[in-house]
Amino acid sequence: MRKILIIFLFSLILFTSCKQSNEKITFPQKPITIIVYTGPGGLIDITARKFADIASKYSEATFVVENKPGSGGIVAMKRLLQLPADGYTIFACTKSNISKIVSSGGEAYIEGIDWAAMMMADPECVITHKKQKVNTWEDIVLDAKSKDGNQLWLGPANGGLDHVTALKIWDQAGIKAKWIPFKSGGKARAALLGEQGVAYVGNPREVLGNDDLQIAAISGSKRLPQFPNVPTFNELGISNLDNEFMWRGFVLKKGTSPEIGKWFDELFSNVNNDPEWREYWERGGIDVIYKNSDEFTKIVHSDKEQFTHYLQKIGIINTEATNLLAKLASGKALNFLVFFSVIIFLIIGFVVKRSSRKKYLGRIMLPIFFIMLSMIFFVISYSFPSNEKVGPSVIPRLWIFILIPLNIFLLIDILRQNKEIENIGENKNIVFGFIALLILYLISIFYLGYFISTFVFLFVGIYILGYRKYLTILLISLGWLLFSYLIFYKLLYVPLPVGKLIEMMF
């Protein structure tokens, strides 16, 4: 009896200890998702995929890269913060995201994120065209002084990292120039190759492969081994630009348990020390570094302050409503304006429907819709800050100024003459039925998931249209489900929604 008891206790201890150690070793019990805020193919996407590749050397875990583009990373960060802090989702982050957070007023993201590991830093540099007269830093300074503010610098979006770096460079060097933003760094580089401007701000990797481009000056405290002839700003007598670098790193949601945090710390530092990882990036002039959570968080906070300062300076954030129309276009007043317009629109619609011209309901209401939409947009356009020659409100207003007269012309034309209209379909009710069904379908996808909702929708839809061979309907619906599962879900990794209710149940 005693023996049995001892064996039992022993095995119990063994069992529990096993279980504990198991838990520790096998943190990732399912694949870990790395969220990337751009589409496949960008530098950060490659970073994430290369990381997943190298990390597999040091852990059993599987890494899955999920691209979630949109709003310069806001969409992806939102996703990260929606998911539980269990370490199964990490986010591949860059300094550009901080600029986006600041300009969209989403400072909660900075607090909600555990800035786990900064993995690399590319120094920022000024790139010039070799065949242009102005191609060294000294040339740029002289040229800038002679052009007095009309020297053209090319680069990606306003308020982004490269733009802010340029602003700092101008401040420190005491020169003035104009920033011409392009849709992407590549397009700006094309314009530099076409000699449309003098300088381009970006990372050193961007001159590789093109003999016509050269680096005029580089930020950072020392010269890059790959570009030994390129001077740093410090050497050129311009200080305070040592920390202008584009960093990339991986972050977790705040609140992830310390054990999991430790597991990741170990993994990040292992990958950082991996020779293959280092060689791959260093060849392109990228500094492979490792900064842990404490240092990283400090850097992020200082970046935030810097961005806030410069974005205010160029007028992207913190603009107060100055005149009446601008006040009307912001906050609650705007909601009221939209609500009020909808009411007026409905009243006009009602009146027309009751009048002798009810046949022309659509013909009359469409121009009115366009006019009212234009007017709302026009009012809103007063809330845009504009300290440039052609500000953000110019082009929308141009379209509005064309749209309104055209619609008034059309409206007068319709009211004056009684043209016959061709008889168009009179089965509006079925169409309305279908629109309602589609809206229900959409709601149902949200709660019950794609597969159940689609099955029901197809069945009901085909039935409503009057098709009655039930077996065919069943086969077609099931066939489509199988097709979308295999092609979209399995082959193309489209994360078809599972549905909120279903998620809760399992």
Partner: protein, 500 residues
């Protein structure tokens, strides 16, 4: 001569079983991705990039460009058969392709679009091989003022598209331009018309808008008109174009291909504008302009030749300068980078096998596409034989999964639905919807380049640069002429009526 030896080497590499297999695979996937509304060529390429990371760089590129080429053709299949252009550039194909289907001649539309695509692809590739270096030099000199003028020229095609309804067509285009300004301002970075919603920061995505305006609104219209009868066409009897039909289109195809390649070269312009402009020119120079919009073979040929040849053009800045000319080529750059290759002029010297292997595979991919397309067309025609009562609900589900696949967002599905309903209302009232798509495509190019040009100089810059001035004058003439002509004809008609 050097080119010939290099090309011979390229072919030597590509004519192995493995590269050919990848080309065939790529073309099949491309056709499917293109045909599926919601999967654009760039997405087809992007979705497969992760798979190519493990392949050798040349094979990866071969697979990706095969997808890219075939997706541009694939878009026309659904445009012709169900009026749901699978890609934005196939919008123009649907103008005449779908009427052909309605007239029980889907084979004509499909046949012409396949052949024009293939020839367009060939011409684009040959221009790429022979002149890429020279053309790249021109492309980088293209000033923002000229981009603006080009986009205004593109907009004037609305006048031709609209015909008698030119006011409505113009309103639709302006509406497209206006809603294109929703989102973060690309120049200054402030958010415009977003009503504080993150979903609107990037504005309305083109693909859900396209699906809604074309596929959904078309189905609403059909249900509205109770068009449920499937016309029983004996598939064996479907008419296919004859050699003579193709021969008649030779000038249209060649002209549109050259035009498409040239427009494709300018980073950012792309296949959609190319197809709109060459359709416009085809209609103006045609002997039978009245057929356009009612099933003109020239219309289908012009659109498809232009959008397929633009692939060759888009590769010019990519290979010679390392600068992406389109969304799809931006993804290709990433694929090169992961293999540690930097696209740019040095690639020609350091890795000629990759460049010439790529050229050879482009030519072969076009042939493979032709062969697969000839077999496939017999299959695509069958889509028109599916009972409408089943087809319509299917189009709804495809539209919804397609708009979701763009960014995995519910908002996009809702936007697609909204555009569908709005498109149906517009069509009921004789507004064409294609100008909205044109407006959305061109709005960004027009606005950013206008503002960039003014920042770089001042307002006179549009008239002091000769290319921009010529383009603007052309735009004015091409916009004014159809309207003026309509007016004159109307007067003549009235005069005739009175004299009777």
């Amino acid at each position: 001569m050097e080119i010939l030896t290099n090309m011979a080497q390229g072919f030597e590499f590509v004519l192995g079983w493995q590269p050919i297999l990848y080309i065939v695979l790529g073309v099949i996937m491309g056709i499917l991705a293109g045909a599926m509304p919601g999967l654009s060529p760039s997405m087809g390429v992007a979705l497969l990039v992760p798979f190519t990371y493990a392949m050798s760089p040349t094979l990866a590129l071969i697979l990706l460009v095969s997808i890219y080429i075939a997706a541009n053709y694939g878009g026309s299949i659904t445009a012709v058969t169900i009026n749901a252009p699978g890609t934005p550039s196939a919008v123009v194909t649907s103008f005449d392709g779908y009427p052909l289907t309605k007239q029980n001649k889907p084979g004509m539309g499909l046949g012409v679009s396949l052949i024009s695509s293939t020839i367009g692809g060939f011409i684009g590739t040959i221009i790429l091989i022979l002149f890429s270096v020279q053309l790249a030099k021109v492309a980088v000199k293209f000033h923002p003022a000229e981009y603006f003028a080009l986009s205004i020229f593109g907009l004037t095609t609305v006048a031709t598209l609209g015909g008698k309804n030119w006011v409505k067509a113009f309103i639709a285009a302006m509406f497209g331009l206006l809603i294109n300004t929703v989102g973060i301002d690309p120049i200054s970075g402030v958010s415009r018309f977003t009503f504080g919603s993150v979903n609107l920061y990037d504005g309305f995505s083109l693909i859900p808008a396209l699906i809604g305006l074309f596929a959904l609104s078309e189905v609403f219209k059909q249900i509205d008109e109770q068009n449920f009868k499937t016309k029983k066409i004996a598939l064996e009897k479907t008419k296919w174009p004859t050699i003579m039909d193709y021969w008649k289109l030779k000038i249209t195809i060649i002209r549109s291909s050259v035009l498409g390649t040239l427009i494709g070269i300018f980073p950012g312009a792309g296949a959609t504008i190319a197809s709109f402009i060459s359709y416009d020119i085809a209609k103006r120079t045609s002997k039978e302009p009245e057929k356009f919009g009612n099933g003109s073979l020239e219309g289908v040929a012009a659109a498809e030749a232009a959008n397929s040849s633009s692939v060759g053009g888009a590769l010019v800045p990519l290979l010679t300068l390392g600068i992406p000319g389109s969304a799809s080529t931006a993804v290709l750059i990433g694929a090169l980078m992961i293999h540690d290759l930097t696209p740019g002029p040095q690639l020609f010297n350091n890795n000629p096998e990759i460049i010439y292997g790529l050229f050879a595979s482009l030519l072969i991919a076009n042939i493979v596409m032709l062969v697969l397309g000839l077999f496939g067309s017999k299959l695509w025609v069958k889509v028109t034989a599916v009972p409408k009562k089943i087809l319509y609900p299917m189009i709804f589900t495809i539209s919804i999964i397609g708009s979701f696949a763009v960014r995995y967002s519910f908002f996009d599905i809702a936007a697609c639905l909204g555009f569908g309903v709005f498109g149906w209302i517009l069509r009921r009232n004789n507004y064409p919807v294609a100008p909205i798509v044109l407006g959305i495509v061109l709005g960004n190019i027009a606005e950013t380049n206008f503002r960039r040009a003014v920042m770089m100089g001042d307002y006179t810059i549009f008239f002091t640069r000769p290319v921009s001035l010529v383009l603007l004058i052309l735009a004015l003439v091409s916009f004014g002429w159809p309207i003026l002509r309509n007016k004159i004809y109307n007067r003549k008609d009235i005069a005739k009526l009175k004299s009777r």
